[in-house]
Symmetry: C2
Subunit: 261 residues, 2 copies
């Protein structure tokens, strides 16, 4: 079907990951659900958005996308955006699996702080073998989420792709459980940790001010304020209107399911 990509360069891998993540972010809101490896249903990703994410010029992205298309990893519609092929998606999910397993391992086994693992994982994910990743995952008990609450794809590419609500979207009086936050910005992570916001934490929005003013929260039994910009980077499961009868979402790393990989 699609040519086995003999070996991807570091750059190509970064593109695939970015395309996956951007496609996910813009995806038809609330659409993808469950742990299904839902077909390549992401939104097409724009060249400029990709260029911005990767920190390179748009023209460079155009060229690279043609190479990736030649390799059967993406499908581009001229002037219309790019999406991953199944092969590209598989590669992207393996990268993400590696990234999240590495982050989990560094925090759990080597004493890293959770705000300090992103860059290391970003480099290592291009160098580790699948075998090493599986060994690290097994050593941790095959966790289903990384230290920031992001779900870890399995070795055969299954991942929980449900879209989550943002803490910023809650109204006064709503309660929720924190599931996940972005791992990109170490400063943000420290800010959140300072306020007790980590995967699994219960929060209640006490009040919100108009004009993007601070949000007042109760976290545990502490009262906190938080900027809406920060709250937008925190994803929650709304506990006010309890979730329907679906499989539960994991709350953190290090859980030990009975079976493995």
């Amino acid at each position: 079907m699609t040519r086995s990509p003999s070996r991807l360069t570091v750059e190509a891998e970064d593109y695939l990951k970015a395309i996956y993540e951007l496609g996910r972010r813009n995806g038809t809101a609330g659409a993808a659900r469950g742990a299904a490896t839902s077909s390549v249903g992401d939104t097409p990703v724009g060249t400029t958005a990709l260029a911005h994410t990767l920190g390179i010029a748009a023209a460079s992205v155009s060229g690279m996308l043609q190479r990736l298309a030649r390799q059967g990893l993406v499908k581009t519609a001229r002037y219309r955006g790019t999406r991953l092929t199944p092969a590209g998606r598989t590669a992207a999910l393996q990268l993400i699996r590696r990234h999240r397993v590495i982050e989990s391992y560094l925090v759990t086994r080597l004493g890293y702080d959770w705000d300090d693992v992103h860059d290391e994982a970003e480099r290592l994910e291009h160098a580790v073998s699948p075998d090493l990743i599986d060994r690290m995952a097994r050593d941790l008990g095959n966790p289903t989420a990384d230290p920031h609450g992001a779900p870890i794809p399995t070795a055969d590419g299954e991942v929980d792709e449900r879209r989550l609500g943002s803490l910023a979207a809650l109204g006064a009086g709503d309660s929720a459980r924190v599931l996940r936050m972005s791992d990109r910005d170490a400063g943000l992570l420290r800010y959140l940790a300072d306020r007790g916001i980590r995967p699994g934490a219960r929060v209640r929005v006490e009040s919100r001010e108009a004009f993007d003013g601070p949000i007042v929260l109760t976290v545990g039994r502490e009262r906190q304020t938080m900027s809406p910009a920060a709250a937008a980077q925190v994803w929650v499961e709304d506990a006010t209107h309890a979730p329907r009868g679906r499989d539960k979402r994991p709350g953190g790393a290090g859980r030990k399911p009975p079976t493995r990989s």
Copy 2:
């Protein structure tokens, strides 16, 4: 003095390591000694030898050496070979430290076999941060040798550079302690492991046959035969004429010296 090499490419790092190792191998026999960071005293390395080690064409090496020279990492004398500058040597030793720490970690903490870590380390050594290496080393108790007996340079570039005698050089009746073996060839390592040859093992040469025939050894209390080609890859400390009053050489990985880094 020498420009700080902002960031080396993977290829550049491979060249530096290879130059270090080849320079070492041909070094004036028996010269370098002790833990001294003896100045850049290695033998100049030939372009063809380097090309052969790296598996690329000699012409490509010529070009790359000019780039490395421009960066202040090597010194080339046209048609006369290449040696590392102090900056190049420092970089090479850090690479070697990373490689050996990674090998030790994979064996000790992730259950790898000692014959199975070389390739993984070869990729990871270009991606890990100094901090991660230090954490891995600390977690292992700052070992002074890797699983194959190779000495691990310290974080500030000190390494035991004594040259060792080869098992193939022993005569009938000689006893020795195995210190180290090449990590390059997994098949060789399994061959050696099958015969009980690992760092720390005591061996005694019972007899040698002419015309490169098999060597008969006692390892522990087992009688073994071994090809001279394999024996040439095993380095020993001659125990027949006991070593002079020098600091002892480490016998394996995982030792825990009282102090650290």
